[in-house]
């Protein structure tokens, strides 16, 4: 058993080796590259399953750790470690299994791409990073994997970097998640400061085992230390798991190849945030009780709840097949966060697992559709694909029903648990989430009808691949979705009270009593809204099919247009945060030039110059007020002063010398 914990490193290591080998493969070695990738992933999957099986059949939840010292400086040592517990084992199996089938699908999807090996190299690295994140028993290692995941997503989203939109999307994804990572990193630092360790579990000395003690320490903003840390960590999770207001990168990430979307949205990157919150759950919950939850828990729940509804509304009005799924992912991640925030570690993680399967299925299915329709992503130009792509259709239907929460598919059970958990915490949140579930059913039905029903509308345009009819995809693309659809169908039963009393609960072994009561109301409501959503979808999109790709949406209205434009969040950011940042950047630049340059001239000149800037900045900000004008003039003065930074080595040298003299002077004066 402890051997298994010590061998956990093999799980991320194998894909890492595969990535390393592929990075030096010549471009032509496509089969070798894909084979290596699949082999490594399959082997990791076997290892993960082995570890998973070892955690089964214990009465007490298993938790094995293997810590080792990474390096020491002085008396301080930084440790790393691996963990084997139900949470890790379940995640690892999910990631490796889903990842494996995504890889299989990718061999078909990327078939024509000339950078096939590079793609698989990145994919392997991505999988390795994610698995490293899952098996690590140390926040530092988790953070490193976390950043690696971010890097890989950056590389993969921008895999077709020659497309300007992809290049923009990759930057957006990186920077947005980076903002969250700052919070995460602060949280890590604070945790280290307060608890003195970054190990999660360490025979009673680990950070999580000290969570109770942390709750008694004072943190910032009048919160307890544990809650402060939790809030900071959650900011990181918000970035990674695309929670409002850091969700903007996720839809843009659709610029990447579809298997990447499947990998990012289903199994890995977005799951990282939820997983991390689940992993750090003791810190979040420390100091609270079900009746009086901590601020961190409330924050998680309400952010999740808001994201769930918010994204679902946007998903209603999108044309791009992948964007619908992307917003749906945001929404579902909101569900997970909400469950975690409501105190339900098990429902959250369970929904994460089931969602990974059916969302991977949906994404791969959409990938099949895109390949089948010759790289068409606009749902208006699809239609009637049921005839051309039967296998894809049936699998997609299963995924759609699972997502829409129709019993007995996986999504129904997991979502139901989430809703139940929320119901006991807050009726308002429950109501909103139920509304989001209704929207989910509605937009998925809309998508099904637009894509698969009616007649083929793709022929309207005579470019691209010409007037080719859609066709079914090769076996290596439909096999994965077929396999995944089996799981989407069956996985839900492991988490239901129906057979033998909630296996998943028992497996994770969290000592939390599921509140009694309310099961009937919640389940009834969710079945009802699911049915209502499907029905409404049929009424709006099913009864009367779109005839032409240029037809307007039946719901065309001002509100719809707002939704179509994603509530103008991007534009809002553009107008506020980005512009503010630019302005700040200008001002910093200005400051830089002045400080650097002023030394050569007399102090009088320096004083005059600084007062000049202050006058300018003050002038512009106070008198003009408007951001635009202020920005412009600051930019202008910045350009003016930037001329003063000479770029000459000699000047910089002189500054060094002056600095040394100043230091020496200080030294003398202090004596």
């Amino acid at each position: 058993m402890s051997d298994l914990a010590r061998q956990q490193w093999l799980i991320p290591f194998l894909p890492l080796v595969a990535a390393a080998i592929q990075s030096v493969l010549p471009r032509g070695q496509r089969k070798l590259s894909a084979g290596l990738c699949l082999l490594a992933m399959g082997a990791s999957c076997v290892l993960a399953v082995r570890a998973f099986l070892a955690t089964l059949g214990h009465h007490e939840p298993v938790r094995e750790v293997a810590n080792f010292t990474w390096f020491e400086f002085g008396n301080t040592s930084l440790q790393m470690g691996f963990i084997l517990d139900p949470l890790t084992a379940g995640m690892a199996v999910m990631v490796t299994f889903v990842g494996f089938w995504i890889f299989v699908n990718a061999t078909g999807y990327m078939h024509e791409d000339e950078n096939f090996t590079r793609f698989f190299c990145f994919l392997s690295l991505f999988a390795a990073a994610m698995l490293g994140l899952v098996v690590s028993n140390n926040l530092l290692m988790l953070f490193m994997s976390w950043e690696l995941v971010g890097l890989c997503s950056y590389l993969l989203i921008g895999f077709w970097f020659f497309k300007p939109s992809a290049a923009a999307a990759m930057k957006k994804a990186f920077i947005t998640t980076r903002i969250g990572d700052v919070g995460f990193f602060l949280g890590i630092l604070m945790l280290y400061w307060k608890s003195g360790t970054l190990n999660l579990y360490d025979n009673g000395h680990g950070a999580l085992e000290q969570a109770g003690a942390l709750a008694n320490l004072a943190g910032w903003w009048g919160l307890s230390a544990a809650t402060t840390i939790a809030v900071l960590l959650f900011i990181g999770a918000m970035g990674k798991s695309a929670q409002f207001p850091l969700h903007v990168w996720l839809p843009d990430a659709m610029e990447g190849p579809t298997p990447v979307s499947a990998l990012i949205h289903a199994a890995t990157m977005v799951a990282a945030g939820v997983f991390m919150v689940g992993r750090m759950f003791p810190v979040f919950a420390a100091g609270g009780s079900p009746e009086h939850p901590t601020f961190a828990m409330n924050m998680v729940m309400w952010v999740g709840c808001f994201t769930a509804v918010f994204s679902a509304t946007i998903a209603v009005a999108q044309w791009d097949i992948k964007r619908v799924l992307a917003y749906s992912t945001c929404s579902q991640l909101g569900f997970m966060m909400m469950a975690l925030g409501a105190g339900g570690l098990v429902p959250g993680q369970f929904h994460l697992l089931t969602h990974a399967f059916f969302k991977a299925l949906l994404f791969l299915g959409s990938g099949c559709v895109i390949i089948g329709t010759h790289h068409e992503q606009d749902m208006r130009k699809m239609g009637g694909l049921k005839k051309y792509m039967p296998i894809t259709f049936w699998c997609y239907l299963i995924g759609m029903l699972a997502l829409a929460g129709v019993p007995p598919f996986a999504g129904f059970f997991s979502k139901d648990e989430v809703l139940l958990q929320t119901f006991h915490r807050s009726k308002i949140a429950w109501g909103l989430a139920t509304f989001a579930a209704f929207l989910t059913a509605f937009y998925m039905t809309r998508q099904m009808y637009m894509v698969f029903a009616g007649k083929w509308r793709g022929g309207d345009h005579g470019y691209g691949h010409g007037h080719h009819e859609p066709h079914e995809v090769p076996w290596n693309m439909w096999l994965p979705i077929a396999v995944l659809s089996v799981f989407a169908l069956a996985l839900g039963f492991f988490g239901t009270p129906l057979i033998g009393g909630n296996l998943f609960h028992h497996y994770l072994g969290v000592e939390e009593e599921m509140p009694e009561g309310g099961v009937g109301i919640v389940m009834g409501c969710s079945i009802l809204v699911g049915a209502l959503g499907v029905l409404l979808g049929w009424m709006v999109y099913g009864r009367k099919q779109m005839e032409h790709a240029t037809d307007p949406d039946p719901l065309e209205s001002p509100l719809w247009r707002v939704l179509n434009n994603k509530w103008y969040v991007d534009e809002f950011y553009e107008a506020t945060i980005i512009r503010l940042t630019m302005t700040c950047g200008m001002m910093f630049r200005l400051f830089d030039k002045l400080v650097v340059d002023g030394i050569l001239h007399t102090i009088v000149w320096l004083t005059k110059a600084i007062s000049q800037i202050f006058r300018w900045v003050g002038d512009e900000l106070i008198i003009n007020g408007g951001f635009d004008a202020g920005c412009e003039s600051v930019r202008g003065s910045g350009a003016l002063f930037s001329k003063l930074q000479s770029g000459r080595v000699r000047d910089y040298f002189a500054f060094l010398g002056v600095g040394t003299i100043v230091l020496l002077t200080v030294y003398f004066l202090k004596q």
Binding site: L644, G647, R648, F653
Partner: protein
């Protein structure tokens, strides 16, 4: 020998200042490199002087001196290669003309 340690330190300080002055006042990149070498040597002289007047049995100072000399050699090789590359580009070795990095 009755020269106290301070004499060596002052000598090194003066040499360092000379190097610094050279780096500040000259425009030719090669002379700037020369001046940097002067500063390097002033620093190494300090090491050896401290070794001589201090813990004689220790190897540390000599090791540091050797490493510093090696680094200086590597630095000058790279520096001169850069000067040559810059010369090819700008047809000049005037450091004041190498200001593409200006703001």
């Amino acid at each position: 020998m009755t020269i106290p340690l301070g004499h060596y330190l002052i000598l090194a300080g003066i040499l360092f200042a000379i190097g610094l002055g050279g780096a500040l006042t000259r425009k030719n990149a090669i002379i700037v490199l020369i001046a940097i070498e002067v500063m390097f040597n002033a620093g190494i002289l300090n090491l050896i002087a401290f070794w001589h007047y201090g813990h004689y049995a220790s190897l540390t100072a000599q090791m540091f001196a050797i490493f510093a000399i090696s680094i200086a050699a590597a630095e000058s090789a790279i520096g001169l290669a850069l000067v040559i590359a810059v010369y090819r580009h700008y047809k000049s070795v005037d450091v004041d003309e190498m200001k593409s990095l200006k703001g």
